[in-house]
């Protein structure tokens, strides 16, 4: 999101600080109201996790308690769901890391016929609605008589996680000066040594960020998963079932807070790792 405003500024124009006029009252109010609108629901969830009421969603909560955290801890089905989500995410992320890095290495600085088509292909699983990817995989499994299993889920997840790793890797590769690779070879390192001593260290934090994002994406994904999981229950599927037919509302509230933490932390970490890769907007 690079601003071209800088290039249009004539020499000797006013400095950036002076450009930011005081916003009109109504605008600032509207903007902050929308931002609050975005955050109130999340704050509410956290509040409800401590609500003592267990039969309904009454507001305001009659009393606050931490007992439901202990109850949730005992729920075996929750743990099973977390475990499954974790394993799926781990596998999907690993596959995505390999495929995404290879694709990024091939496409970052080369120009050849079909290059744009390939980057479109990589983005398609995420660009098309989840339901399309879901029903497509379902059709394929059905036509090939493949029964639902752990791997049918992993295959779907890995496919849409590749682009996340790819984007991070490509952004970092494009920022890396090609003369670094040439210098390494010039000094006597062959292709493989150059990859090991120069390219991978440069890619390092971008791959970590991509991996974290892919993990969070897979952990949170529900639509494609419902088409490819059969009877298995990942954490999002568990959550969905609770949404449609609530069993123990307070436990669901607690699990919701746990999910927020589990998906939020890796994404924040990934953002922090790659913040210098995005061109800062003035």
């Amino acid at each position: 999101m690079r601003s071209e405003a800088g290039t249009h500024r004539a020499a000797g124009a006013r400095p950036a600080a002076a450009r930011r006029e005081r916003a009109p009252r109504a605008l600032a109010l509207a903007a902050w109201a929308v931002i609050a609108f975005l955050h109130v629901p999340l704050a509410l969830i956290v509040l409800y996790a401590f609500s003592a009421e267990d039969k309904s969603y009454v507001f305001p909560p009659p009393a606050l308690t931490t007992q439901w955290f202990a109850v949730a801890w005992e729920r075996e089905d929750v743990w099973r769901a977390i475990r499954l989500s974790f394993e799926v995410a781990a596998w999907a992320t690993s596959i995505a890391l390999v495929l995404g890095t290879l694709a990024a290495a091939a496409l970052a600085r080369t120009r050849f016929f079909g290059r744009d088509a390939i980057s479109l292909l990589l983005i398609l699983p995420i660009a098309l609605p989840g339901i399309i990817t879901g029903i497509a995989l379902r059709s394929a499994y059905h036509t090939l008589d493949i029964p639902f299993s752990f791997w049918t889920i992993v295959i779907g997840h890995a496919t849409f996680c590749v682009v996340v790793v790819y984007n991070n890797a490509v952004a970092r590769l494009r920022r890396t000066s090609p003369s670094l690779i040439e210098a390494s070879m010039d000094l006597g390192a062959d292709g493989f040594q150059t990859v090991r001593y120069v390219i991978l260290p440069q890619l390092g934090s971008a791959l970590l960020a991509g991996g974290l994002l892919a993990f969070a994406l897979s952990f949170d994904e529900v639509i494609v998963t419902t088409f490819t999981a059969g009877q298995q229950t990942t954490l999002p599927i568990w959550m969905l079932q609770e949404l449609i037919r609530p069993r123990q509302r307070p436990v669901t509230n607690v699990v919701a807070v746990i999910i927020i933490a589990l998906t939020f932390v890796p994404i924040l970490a990934a953002y922090w790792l790659t913040r210098s890769d995005e061109a800062p907007s003035r």
Binding site: E182, A183, S184, M185, D186, L187, G188, Y197, Q202
Partner: protein
């Protein structure tokens, strides 16, 4: 004596058919061992592509490249006894300075204490002792350039390639580095192949210069030869300022179809025996000399007067004198 570097009918062509670009066009070149050789030319003239082909980063589309007599045309950079100092220095940001300098030894399997010692020696050689533990981001441009130099020299290459290494430095630092580079080359005795678009740099530092234009090598010679006896019109005008005379003016003033006359070889004098006379249209003061533009019989001549001569003002009539030897015949364009 085998040439240090030989380019034998080397061409590098990009694209096909109508959009073909002949970056390097049938170049022959032999560089002597221990020489400070400069490739000089404007941007896009092919000098950088030539350097990259010698280094192995670009492969030629025709011809052979020999280093020390060995055919290395298709060899990757890591298999050539050549090292490069890159224009942006290309220091590895994730390694310390010492690890950067010792990199060539590390990939060859030299043990850590041994290569650490050698790296420190090289840093002493380029006059940067004590920075071994720092990171490239913490050094200034001039310091980074010395590190790049040390890193390239540590494995004692037969030839050192320098790709416009002084371009990013400010004037004073650049002049200082020019002197240091020249001294270093003499001390080490390694062949230096230097690229620049700055003709002053080329003239002052080189043993020999190769002048490039649009992919072709137009002249190879000592600075003196290139300056005083340019082979083509391009060389005459690129290296130093030149008055290029053509047609009637050339025949009248120089007795040839095409000739060159350096502005500093023209002096002002009395009307008697003057070669040409004219009116001063422009006067530019450069401190050490003053540059005049003189309109004379249909053409404009540039005249550089030393500071010791009092410069006329604009509009004055002047009479120009020069020796026969000051005129140099050029091949017709």
């Amino acid at each position: 004596m085998t040439a240090a570097v030989t380019l034998d009918s080397v061409s590098c062509v990009f694209g096909h058919g109508a959009s073909e670009v002949r970056a390097v066009d049938d170049v022959h070149l032999a560089i002597e061992p221990g020489e400070f050789f400069t490739l000089l030319g404007p941007s896009g003239s092919g000098k950088t592509t030539c350097l990259r082909m010698i280094g192995g980063f670009t492969l030629p589309t025709a011809g052979r490249i020999l280093i020390g007599g060995e055919d290395v045309t298709l060899r990757p950079p890591y298999a050539r006894p050549v090292n490069t100092v890159f224009q942006d220095y290309a220091l590895f940001p994730h390694m310390s300075i010492r690890d950067n300098v010792a990199y060539a030894l590390m990939v060859k399997g030299v043990d850590k204490p041994g290569r650490g010692r050698r790296a420190d020696e090289m840093l002493e050689l380029v006059r940067l002792p004590g920075v071994g533990d720092r990171r490239p981001a913490q050094l200034s441009g001039g310091q980074r350039q010395r590190v790049a130099l040390a890193r390239a020299l540590i494995s004692r290459p037969q030839v050192l390639l320098l790709d416009e290494p002084l371009g990013a430095l400010d004037l004073k630092l650049r002049e200082q580095m020019q002197v240091e580079l020249k001294a270093l080359q003499r001390e080490l005795g390694i062949t230096f192949l230097f690229i620049t678009h700055d003709q002053h740099e080329a003239l002052s530092m080189s043993d020999r210069i190769g002048v490039f234009n649009s992919g072709r090598l137009e002249q190879v010679g000592t600075p003196h030869a290139v300056y005083n006896t340019p082979a083509t019109r391009f060389v005459a005008q690129f290296v130093g300022a030149a008055n290029v005379l053509e047609g009637d003016a050339a025949r009248r003033l120089a007795g040839a179809d095409c000739a060159m006359l350096r502005p500093e070889r023209i002096a002002l004098g009395p009307e008697r025996d003057a070669r040409a006379s004219g009116t001063v249209t422009e006067v530019q003061y450069f401190g050490a000399f003053t540059r005049l533009r003189v309109a004379s019989a249909g053409s404009a001549l540039q005249v550089d007067l030393p500071a010791t001569t009092i410069a006329p003002s604009g509009g004055a009539t002047v009479h120009l004198h020069w020796d026969d030897g000051a005129v140099h015949r050029l091949a017709a364009a």
